[in-house]
Every structure is written in structure tokens, then in C-alpha cells.
């Protein structure tokens, strides 16, 4: 099956089906602390999945574990039956702060293509198309790190997009962005979703979760407390923590947990 996205330039190899993502009894311990505590879930294709929770819930760790950037202490992660390491090549990840190379915007995208083994001659057209897609064509020659925060994050998205991933993992991509830049980014995420890329995003921003999510995984202190369709989660949270988080009460809860 050919990937649904883009030009197909990367699909000389047939992209495997990465979903469902199956996580079983996942644990990640540092010292004596379980930062991810016996987590299990199954994520299907198609929906935009948002991993929601307060700071310290383990959202970023979970994404990094699923992407193969961290090794779990225990448990199992399978992408459509494939091991994490084998599946990584068909995924792209965006970080809270975009990590851009000290080169031009265009060179940042060309670099990603070159790492994936795209011929030099084929790169310029893909780079131009990639920049165009996120509205950065006019800034192609600018050093990437002199771009504004919003532009940098869009460039990071363009870099992820040209790789035509089956799955895009986003770790609080809008945490440092203003509302306008956040809006632009969310439109682009929607566009990637529309061409068939599976979206898995973490956030602690309720508004963003409501805008983006089809389904919610709610985490608190390393544990998965709820896994539900977004509408159902926001209307009828089943756990006390989720209800408190939605109502904005969680801070007090967390404080009392510390003073206890």
C-alpha cells in the first residue's frame, strides 16, 4: 500500500502499517521512581490522539518511549506488530522547542532528506514544496535560528512533513507559541491529518486538546487514568483527577499531594 501523503518521493520502499499502537505494562523507572507506571493502551489509525495531563504526568516520556528515544524499564510497545526501532523510520517527532540546525531554513529540510537517503538531485524540489506548504518559501535562505518562534516550529513541521511519516508525534509543540502561531500550527497539523498521517500529540493546554483531539488519553503522575473519545471525556470525565483538571482545580490537588 502506498502512503497517502504528498509526492510519494519517499515511498520507494512500501511504508508498513504502523497502527494500531499497542502498549502493554509499560514502565519507566529512574532511581526508585516510576515515571511511567504500568501503562497499557491501544491506539487505532485515523483519529487525532491527544495525550493530556498536567506537568510531570509523563507525557513527554511516553512519546519518547514510543518513538524509541528512551528504553522502557519494563513492558512492550508494538507499532502494527513492529518493534519500536524498526518503526521509528516511518515516524517523525516534533519537540517543545524546535531543534533547528545552524543553517538556512532550506538546508534544515535538505538535511533531513539527506539523512533518509534521498538523492541530492531530488532534494531541491522537495525542499521548496515543503517550505511552500508551511508558508515559509520566502524565508528559505534565512538562517533557521533567526526565524521567529512560530516560524521555527512551522519549519520543524515542514522538516517532519517532507519525510512523509505515517505517524507524527508532537510533544507540546505550541507550548512556547502565541495564539496566532498556535492557530497556524494547528491548521498545519490538521492538514497532515487530512492526508492520512496519524497524529499523536501531548499537551497540558485544555483549549488545544478540545480543538485538536478526536480521542484523549489522560495521564497523571505517570499513570493512564482515562482513555476516551474527546467529546465523552470533556462531557463526563470518569476520574476525579480528570474532572479536577478540566475544571482547573488540579493545582490545589497537586499542592495538597505535596504537603501531605
Amino acid at each position: 500500500m502506498r502512503p497517502l501523503t504528498g509526492t510519494g518521493a519517499l515511498s520507494q520502499e512500501l511504508a508498513p502499517q504502523l497502527l494500531p499502537l499497542e502498549v502493554e505494562d509499560l514502565e519507566y523507572r529512574v532511581g526508585g521512581n516510576s515515571l511511567i507506571d504500568r501503562v497499557g493502551f491501544r491506539i487505532r489509525a485515523g483519529q487525532r490522539t491527544v495525550i493530556l495531563g498536567p506537568n510531570g504526568a509523563g507525557k513527554s516520556l511516553l512519546l519518547q518511549l514510543c518513538h524509541g528515544l528512551l528504553q522502557p524499564t519494563a513492558g512492550r510497545i508494538l507499532w502494527g506488530g513492529m518493534a519500536v526501532a524498526a518503526a521509528q523510520r516511518w515516524q517523525a517527532m516534533m519537540f517543545q522547542r524546535p531543534v533547528l540546525l545552524r543553517r538556512s531554513a532550506a538546508a534544515n529540510i535538505a538535511y533531513a532528506l539527506s539523512v533518509r537517503g534521498i538523492r541530492r538531485a531530488a532534494r531541491p524540489a522537495l525542499v521548496a514544496a515543503g517550505l511552500e506548504r508551511v508558508g515559509l518559501a520566502h524565508l528559505a535562505a534565512r538562517p533557521a535560528r533567526t526565524l521567529s518562534g512560530g516560524e521555527q516550529q512551522r519549519l520543524a513541521l515542514a522538516r517532519a512533513w517532507v519525510l512523509e511519516p505515517r505517524v507524527l508525534l508532537l510533544d507540546e509543540p505550541a507550548a512556547h507559541l502565541d495564539p496566532a502561531a498556535t492557530y497556524d500550527l494547528e491548521r498545519l497539523i490538521d492538514a497532515m491529518h487530512a492526508v492520512g498521517t496519524k497524529i499523536i500529540m501531548t499537551t497540558h493546554d485544555l483549549g488545544q486538546a478540545r480543538r485538536v483531539a478526536d480521542e484523549i488519553l489522560f495521564f497523571s503522575r505517570g499513570r493512564l487514568l482515562e482513555h476516551a473519545p474527546a467529546a465523552e471525556f470533556f462531557a463526563r470525565p470518569r476520574s476525579e483527577e480528570a474532572a479536577a483538571f478540566i475544571e482547573g482545580r488540579l493545582f490545589r490537588g497537586a499542592e495538597s499531594a505535596i504537603s501531605r
Partner: protein, 234 residues
């Protein structure tokens, strides 16, 4: 005091008229230090990057050694190279003692730990920032090394300049392995040492001023590069 004043004016005259002997000495100095530094950079940049990215047994000890060797006394380096290349030494058959080549080797050895240790630090800092992203893109370790060297290019350039500054300013190593032979292995620093002890203060002063100007120039360039890099690449 009058003598010093006179020496100064003679020194400036020597520089202004581009005295032939003076020119020869300056040119040889620059050539030897440039080639020595280039050789050290060619080995030190990849070695430093590798030390930053690869884990191997004894890595901690290697890093401590490298940092300690940044302050290696030039005379000691000179002595060791002298022993290696002198007729009775293991490399004696090459006949390198008292040649410019031996001086290049000595300066390269002197500069190598500086370039390697500072490269290691710079690349390690960059690696911390880039690590997750590069692994996510699927960059191989070898490719990551080249990427980090390229992205650290401005900082690394100032490291190489610092190495060059040290090479051009040292006297201990080149005087031992070069022998300070007129028109052959005589460089700025060895001339200063010799002429001062002979009492030819004007020539020593002229060379000192050139040396200091050179060192100033190197630092101005380094500052400029660092500033430009910060403005353009953050």
C-alpha cells in the same frame, strides 16, 4: 632609557622598510605555525568530536589527560620531539632534527591537545541540544559527528585560532628541535630570545611588536567570527 627609545625607533624603521631578514623570519614563523596548527586541527577536530560522541572504556581518563595536556610546557614537547628525531632516536633515520619539518611536528603536538579538548567540549554541548532530534531523524553516529562539527564551525574556528596563537607565541619547542639556524629554522620567538641575549634590542623589539600585533589580530578575528555567528546563527 634613551637607548630603549632609540631601539624603538630603529625597530619601527625595520618594520616600515620591510627589512629582508625580518621578512624572512616572519614568513617562516607564520608558515610553520600555520602548517602545524592545520595538522593539529585535521586530527584534533575529528578526535575531539569522537571523544564527545562515543563511549569507550577509559574515556574519563582520556578526557582528564587531554585537559591536562592543554597546558603542556613547550620545552617539554620540544625535548620529547628532540629525543624522537635526533640521530640516535627511533625516528632518527629521517634526518628531521634542526629542520622546519621538526618544528612543524613539535607545534602540531603542542596544539593538538588544545584543539581536541576544546572541540570535545563544544561538540558535547551541541550534542546535548541536538541528540533527540538527530536520533529521531535517524542520523547515524558517524553522520551526527560530521553534523555537529559543521554546526559548531564558528566556535571551532576560534578554537583553531587559539591554537595558532599558542603555536606562534611559543619558543621552547621550536628552539630545541629547530636549533635557531639563521635563514633556515630561525623564527620570530627564537630570534627574540637570541637577539635579546646578544644585545640587538631593535630587532628583538621589532619582532615583539609584530608578534603582539599578530596576537591582537587573531583575537580580533576570533571575536568578530563569534559575534557574527551569534547574530546569524544564534
Amino acid at each position: 632609557m634613551i637607548e630603549i627609545g632609540a631601539a624603538f625607533s630603529t625597530a619601527i624603521e625595520l618594520m616600515l622598510h620591510l627589512d629582508h631578514d625580518l621578512g624572512e623570519i616572519v614568513l617562516l614563523s607564520l608558515t610553520i605555525s600555520l602548517v602545524g596548527t592545520a595538522a593539529a586541527a585535521l586530527c584534533g577536530l575529528p578526535l575531539g568530536a569522537a571523544a564527545a560522541l562515543y563511549r569507550f572504556p577509559g574515556r574519563g581518563a582520556v578526557l582528564v589527560m587531554l585537559n591536562a595536556m592543554m597546558g603542556l610546557p613547550p620545552v617539554v614537547v620540544g625535548l620529547v620531539i628532540y629525543l624522537l628525531v635526533s640521530r640516535a632516536g627511533p625516528l632518527g633515520s629521517f634526518g628531521l632534527l634542526f629542520t622546519p619539518t621538526a618544528m612543524v611536528v613539535a607545534q602540531a603536538v603542542l596544539v593538538l591537545p588544545i584543539v581536541t579538548a576544546l572541540t570535545q567540549q563544544i561538540v558535547a554541548d551541541l550534542a546535548e541540544e541536538y541528540d533527540l532530534q538527530l536520533r529521531s531523524l535517524g542520523t547515524s553516529r558517524h553522520r551526527a559527528m560530521l553534523t555537529l562539527l559543521w554546526d559548531g564551525r564558528y566556535q571551532l574556528f576560534t578554537v583553531v585560532l587559539a591554537g595558532f596563537g599558542r603555536a606562534a607565541a611559543e619558543v621552547g619547542a621550536v628552539i630545541i628541535v629547530g636549533g635557531n639556524i639563521n635563514h633556515y629554522t630561525r623564527v620570530m620567538t627564537t630570534t627574540i630570545a637570541l637577539e635579546t641575549s646578544k644585545g640587538d634590542i631593535p630587532l628583538a623589539l621589532a619582532l615583539s611588536m609584530i608578534l603582539i600585533t599578530l596576537s591582537l589580530g587573531v583575537n580580533v578575528v576570533a571575536l568578530g567570527v563569534r559575534g557574527a555567528a551569534r547574530r546569524y546563527y544564534g
